[in-house]
Symmetry: C2
Subunit: 215 residues, 2 copies
């Protein structure tokens, strides 16, 4: 069966997966962009955004693995945008411009209904009000046997971890301190949920750890 994966999710040394006070200027919260500074320079990211070049090596290899074999994505509503509460209109179409880097169906968790949104390049945003299990069910149906990636943010990954629904979790530990933000793993007893660290690797800009849930 297709796996539910988290890939290339960056955390700081002090355990934060996002900064505080997300807004349109700070999609990952205050200081949060530093978490992504291992991913932006990679060839994988550069190519995803239509640029030539970019760095190769361990960080890029791992970034590329994270994008491979995906049939659907699940995002929390705050990863889709900074708007809170009911949708004022349908003008917000995500952080990513007309052609988002997903190229698959993307299921966005929200408490507020909204019609699907078809973007260029095959990305189709579906807004799911039924919670994490409903979103996973719809993503599996759409993924055609390929894997499903939970893109984030922190609160969404924590919900899927606590439900022991994530099969594989790759974290990119960034050698930075945020000081405050959204703690990814605080208060979650991963071994009790069946998770273990099965591998680790060192990139130039991140320390990679690979967690898996025992079948």
């Amino acid at each position: 069966m297709s796996k539910l994966r988290v890939n290339s999710f960056a955390v700081s040394i002090d355990g934060y997966g996002a900064g505080l006070m997300q807004d349109v200027e700070n999609p990952i919260g205050i200081g949060g962009v530093a978490l992504m500074d291992w991913f932006f320079p990679t060839r994988t990211w550069q190519h995803m955004h239509g640029h030539e070049g970019g760095e190769t090596g361990v960080d890029d290899d791992i970034a590329a693995q994270g994008m491979a074999g995906l049939g659907a994505w699940i995002l929390g509503r705050n990863m889709f945008g900074p708007i809170r509460g009911p949708w004022p209109d349908e003008n917000w179409r995500g952080w990513w411009g007309d052609e988002p880097p997903y190229h698959t169906p993307v299921f966005v968790l929200t408490h507020h209904q909204r019609p699907p949104l078809r973007m260029a390049g095959g990305t189709e945003f579906h807004f799911v009000t039924g919670g994490i299990h409903a979103a996973l069910e719809q993503a599996r149906a759409a993924a055609g046997g390929r894997d499903i990636r939970v893109g984030g943010g922190v609160a969404t990954i924590r919900q899927y971890l606590r439900a022991a629904l994530i099969d594989e979790l790759h974290l990119a530990i960034r050698p930075v301190l945020l000081g405050a933000g959204e703690a990814l793993l605080a208060g979650i007893d991963l071994p009790a949920l069946g998770y273990e660290c099965v591998n680790h690797a060192c990139g130039v800009r991140a320390l990679h750890v690979f967690l898996r849930r025992r079948a």
Copy 2:
């Protein structure tokens, strides 16, 4: 002036510097010994304990740096032993046998007075009831211009960090999950205290990060 350093302090992926329920069988708490499994195999550790051999490489180089240039140590009372409350007698002489691996004066934070304890090999335990500043003052006087190392445990390092008294902090991030324990950095805003990550390196068994407080 001599620096106050933390070296070779291991934390799990989920941020714990010790497991729960420390006792005489579990000096680092339940599961905590896994945090040390990068240090035990090193040539540095093996030689500290009178054994030949041991592994060389990045982990050993960093372990050796952590032991160099020290004139005194500071330990929390629980790192000295599992006994809580008033000392029932003077029979407990630390976890380390007759010749502890410190070979300097060691200042043990406690609320309960106890006469100094002279061990083989130059280690002398002094029990300080005046708190972290008093212990640091006594350690500086004893260190003869060399550095002072805070050995731990978690609660002691957190006290010195919150007081911004630690100059350099090396953490060995172990690719293991504890699930529960004593969180080292939770709730401490290190950037606000002047700390930044200045370097990182990858060993075979740990991912090393080096924090420093801006002068």
